[in-house]
Point group: C2
Chain length 497, copies 2
C-alpha cells in the first residue's frame, strides 16, 4: 500500500491497522471490529441500507448481520492528511462476483488507529428479492395510452398477471399455483391507461400481516427509515415506490395493508370503498373487508390512478369538513399524535371509545374466520410452510367456531352502521398508524393493537381512506388518514391534492 | 451544517464550498465541478460503475454523463480534521425516489476548498436494464436435481424460454415475437440438471456484433474493466456472471460472441463444436457458424455445464500437446500477446498466414449472406429499428449476390478442411481476442478485424474453443483460447480445469 493520494508517506502503523481490519471483517471478529471503529456517537458507517451514526449502532448492526461477503482487496489508494489521519479508498473484488468500494477515514487515537467514517458499496443483486419476485423492462408493456403513460406499476403478489403465477408471499402456494391466463381487472385497466407493469412485488404471506417481514423473502427496505419495518402487507409495492423502482404500488387493504406501509415509508396511499373497485383476479384474505388500494410518491399521481380505477363521476357535493376526534388521535404515540394535530380540524362527534376494543376484537375474529374459510382447506397440513407470525394467526383462525364467528359478524354489522353514522358527511382525520416504523426485530404486539384499533374503523365501515405522509418529531415518516362515507374516494383524492 | 463528527468546528469556507458543489452538480456546471475537484492524478471518485483515478478521468466522465440525478441533501455530517481538511458525509434523497450517500474528503488548496476523494452511492434500479430484460427469484425454477443444483443461468435473449418472448436485442422484434410455449433444448437440459433460470439477458441485436454496445439497452458493465466494453454479442450473460448475478451465462458464438466477452471480462467460456449441441429453440444468426456456448467464473463449473449439455463420453485419447503459432499470437496487441506467451507451448505447424485475410473475408461474406437469408425478409423495411453498427452490417449483407456468396462458401469449405488439418490432434493456443476491452466509445474497426482474424478460425473450422482468463500487463483482463478437433470439447474442458 503506497501513498498515491499525497506527497506525504503513509503514516506509521496504518497499513497494519488496515490489514487487521480486513482480517477481522473476513473472520467476523466482532470484538476486533468494534475496537477498530472509533468509539463515540459520531462514528459513521454507510452502505446501501443506510447510514449508521455512532459506534453503538454500528456495533449492533455488525452483531446482527452474520459477517460480510467474502472479498479481496484489489486496489488501495491512501490520501495521507497528517501523521494521525489518512483516507483509505479500497476497491474490493467479491468472491461471488463483481467489485465494490470501501472508503475509510482513519484516525490515530489514544489506543491506536481506528476508523471514524466508512462508506461501503457492493454490487447490487440482479433484483432485490426482498422487494420483488420478478421484474422486467417492463415485465408487461402497456396495452394503451392514457393518463398513466410512462408510469410503472409494482403489482402486489395477490393479483393475477397474465403469463405469471400468483405467489401470495408463500413458496408452497407459488409452487402449486397455475400460470394465469388473464390479468386481474385492475391490472388490465392500468395497462390500458398507459402504465407498464414493472414487476410482481412481495407481500406478507396471504396479506395476513401489517409488518412487511416475510419470513422467506425477508423485510423490504424502508429508505426513509433505515433498519425499520417497511409496513405491510403491501410491503414490496411500497418499498418499490419509495425507491423509485416503480411509480405506482398496487396493493390491498383489509385491516391497514395500504395505510400502514404508507405511514411507515412516507407515501401517499388509498384504501378504496369496499366493493367499489373490481376485485376479480385478486386472491382474497377476508372478503368482507378486502379493498383495492395503491401507493404513490405524490398526491397528484394517487389521484390520477383513481381516474382509471374508480367509477367515473365520483366526486360528490357532500361536506368536506375535516373533523378530528382527540381521543382517537391520542391512541397514537405522542410524536405521531403531535404530527396529526398539526392538521386544522373541527371537533367531531363523540365516539363510543369504550366500544373500540369490542369492535377490534370482532374485526379480528371475523377476519380470521373468513381467512380460514378461503385458505383453511389448502393450509390444512401445510401450516408449517408459513412464517411464525402468520402461522399463529391462521392456527388461531382454525379454532374459531361458527357461533363465535356469528357473534363477531353481528358486532361487525352493528359497528359498520355506527361508524358510517359517526362519519356522516364529514371527513374524519386520524393517524394512519399508531407509530412510526418499528425497528426490525421489535415486538409488534402492542403497536399492532394500537394501530389496528385505528385502521379497523375503515375496514369495519367499508370506508375509503387516504393516507397522507407527515414527519414525526423524530424526523421519521408517519401518516394521517382521511376517512369519508362510502363512495367518496375521489373527494378524498381531491382533498389530498 | 454543524460539526457532529469532531469537537473541532467546521473550517471556515467549507460550508460555502459544499453548497457551491451541490449547486454546480445540480446545474451540471462542468467548469465549476472541475474547479471544486482537486487537480492532479490522485484525486478519486467512485460509484457503482467503478473508481475513477485522477482529475482528468473524473472530468471526462462528467462531460459524458449529462448530469447527476436530481436530489436534495437530507443529512450532513462533518468530521473536521484540521483547519484545512474535513470529511463531509451527506445523505441524499433522490427526486426519483430512494436515498443515497456521498462521502467527500475536502482539502483547502492554494485557490480554495476542493474535493480530493468522493464516494457516491445511489439506490439501484429494479433491474440493470443494460444486463437484463427480465429477471426473477428465479424466473424459471429448476425442473430436476443434478450436477447444477443451486446454479443460476442468464439466458441470452436468443434462446426460447417457455412463457416469454425472444427479443434478440431488438425492441421491434420483441414486440412482434410470440410467447414461447417451449424452452430451447439447452435451457430444458440446464433446468433438468438443477439450475434455475435467473433471467433473460441482453444481446447485441441479432447477435451481429462483438462489442456489447446495444444501441437501445446500452452497454452492460464490465466490472473488471470499468468504463470499457463488455464484449458481445453474449454481453448481458457475461456481465451477469461477472457481477455474480448468475453463475452460468448461456450464449452463442458465431464469430467470437462467447470468447470475446470472456476475454474482456476475465471469464471462462466455451464455444462448442458446430452442430454438437442441439440448437432447437435458438434464433439463428448464421447457421453454418452458429454454436452454443456458455460463460462461468470457474473452469470447474464450465466443465460441469459441459457434462449436461455435451454428448456423454466425450473425452478422447487424442493428443493434448499444446501448440502455439507465434505469428497468430503476434496478431494480438503486445500486452495481450505477452500474456498468451506465458503459456508453455510447443511450436505448431506453419500456418498459411497469407490466407488469413482471405479466410476472414470469406467468413464475413458467408456470415452476412446467411444472416440476410434468415433475417432479411423481416428486416426489409425495418432496418431503421437497428442501431447504426448492426444496421450497417445488415445493409451490406443485403447487397451480397449469390455468386459472391457461392465464392465465399467455397473458400469457407476449403478453409475448414485446411484448419482442421493444421490443428490435427493438437491443442492450438491463441489469443481469444486481439486486445483488452476497448474503452466505451472507442472506434472498434481495427480491433474488430484483428480479433476476428483470430476468432473466425474456430468458426470456419467448426471447432470447439475454450477461453481461459489471463491478465494483461495493464492489469486488465484478456483471454487465451484452446482450439481442438471437432468433438474434443470435453478434452478442452478437462485441460482448462
Amino acid at each position: 500500500m503506497t501513498a498515491t493520494g499525497s506527497p506525504l508517506p503513509v503514516p506509521a502503523g496504518l497499513v497494519e491497522a488496515f490489514r487487521a481490519y480486513e482480517q477481522a471483517l473476513m473472520s467476523n471478529d466482532l470484538a476486533a471490529l468494534d475496537r477498530l471503529f472509533a468509539p463515540g456517537p459520531t462514528t459513521l458507517r454507510g452502505d446501501a441500507n443506510g447510514l449508521l451514526v455512532g459506534h453503538d449502532m454500528i456495533s449492533a448492526f455488525r452483531g446482527g448481520r452474520g459477517g460480510a461477503p467474502p472479498r479481496r482487496i484489489v486496489q488501495t489508494h491512501v490520501q495521507t492528511i497528517d501523521d494521525d489521519h489518512a483516507l483509505v479508498v479500497a476497491v474490493t473484488e467479491l468472491e461471488r462476483g463483481g467489485r465494490g468500494q470501501q472508503t475509510q477515514l482513519w484516525a490515530r487515537l489514544a489506543d491506536g488507529w481506528a476508523v471514524t467514517a466508512a462508506h461501503v458499496s457492493v454490487p447490487a443483486p440482479a433484483l432485490d428479492t426482498r422487494i420483488w419476485r420478478v421484474v422486467g423492462d417492463p415485465l408487461v408493456p402497456a396495452t394503451g395510452c392514457g393518463v398513466l403513460d410512462g408510469e410503472s406499476v409494482a403489482v402486489k403478489d395477490l393479483y393475477a398477471v397474465a403469463g405469471h403465477r400468483v405467489g401470495a408471499g408463500n413458496p408452497a402456494w407459488l409452487a402449486a399455483a397455475p400460470v394465469e391466463t388473464e390479468s386481474a381487472a385492475v391490472v388490465d385497466r392500468l395497462l390500458d391507461a398507459g402504465a407498464d407493469v414493472r414487476g410482481i412485488a412481495r407481500t406478507d404471506e396471504f396479506a395476513y400481516s401489517l409488518a412487511g417481514t416475510n419470513a422467506r423473502s425477508g423485510a423490504p427496505p424502508n429508505p426513509r427509515a433505515p433498519y425499520r419495518m417497511s409496513g405491510g402487507s403491501t410491503s414490496g409495492s411500497a418499498s418499490a415506490v419509495s425507491l423509485g423502482q416503480a411509480t405506482i404500488g398496487l396493493g390491498t387493504d383489509t385491516g391497514g395493508s395500504i395505510r400502514v406501509p404508507a405511514a411507515y415509508q412516507g407515501l401517499y396511499g388509498i384504501r378504496t370503498t369496499h366493493d367499489l373497485v373490481d376485485t376479480s383476479g385478486l386472491l382474497a384474505l377476508a372478503p368482507t373487508f378486502d379493498a383495492v388500494g395503491w401507493l404513490t410518491r405524490s398526491a397528484e399521481l394517487l389521484r390520477r390512478v383513481g381516474e382509471v380505477l374508480l367509477p367515473p363521476g365520483g366526486t360528490t357535493t357532500a361536506g368536506r369538513r375535516l373533523v378530528g376526534v382527540p381521543a382517537l388521535t391520542a391512541l397514537a404515540d405522542p410524536d405521531v399524535a403531535a404530527a396529526v394535530r398539526t392538521l386544522p380540524v373541527e371537533p367531531g362527534p363523540d365516539w363510543p371509545l369504550g366500544e373500540l376494543p369490542t369492535w377490534l376484537a370482532a374485526f379480528q375474529t371475523w377476519q380470521a374466520w373468513e381467512a380460514w374459510q378461503v385458505r383453511g382447506e389448502w393450509l390444512t397440513g401445510r401450516l408449517d410452510t408459513l412464517g411464525p407470525d402468520v402461522r399463529g394467526r391462521f392456527e388461531n383462525a382454525a379454532t374459531i367456531g361458527d357461533e363465535q364467528a356469528a357473534a363477531a359478524r353481528a358486532t361487525v354489522v352493528a359497528a359498520r352502521d355506527r361508524i358510517r353514522e359517526l362519519v356522516g358527511d364529514d371527513v374524519l382525520v386520524l393517524p394512519s398508524a399508531s407509530s412510526v416504523a418499528p425497528r426490525l426485530g421489535a415486538d409488534l404486539g402492542p403497536v399492532r393493537t394500537a394501530t389496528m384499533t385505528l385502521t379497523c374503523l375503515a375496514g369495519l365501515g367499508g370506508l375509503p381512506a387516504v393516507s397522507i405522509p407527515l414527519t414525526a418529531t423524530s424526523g421519521l415518516p408517519c401518516g394521517v388518514s382521511l376517512l369519508a362515507a362510502p363512495g367518496r374516494d375521489q373527494d378524498l383524492l381531491e382533498l389530498a391534492t
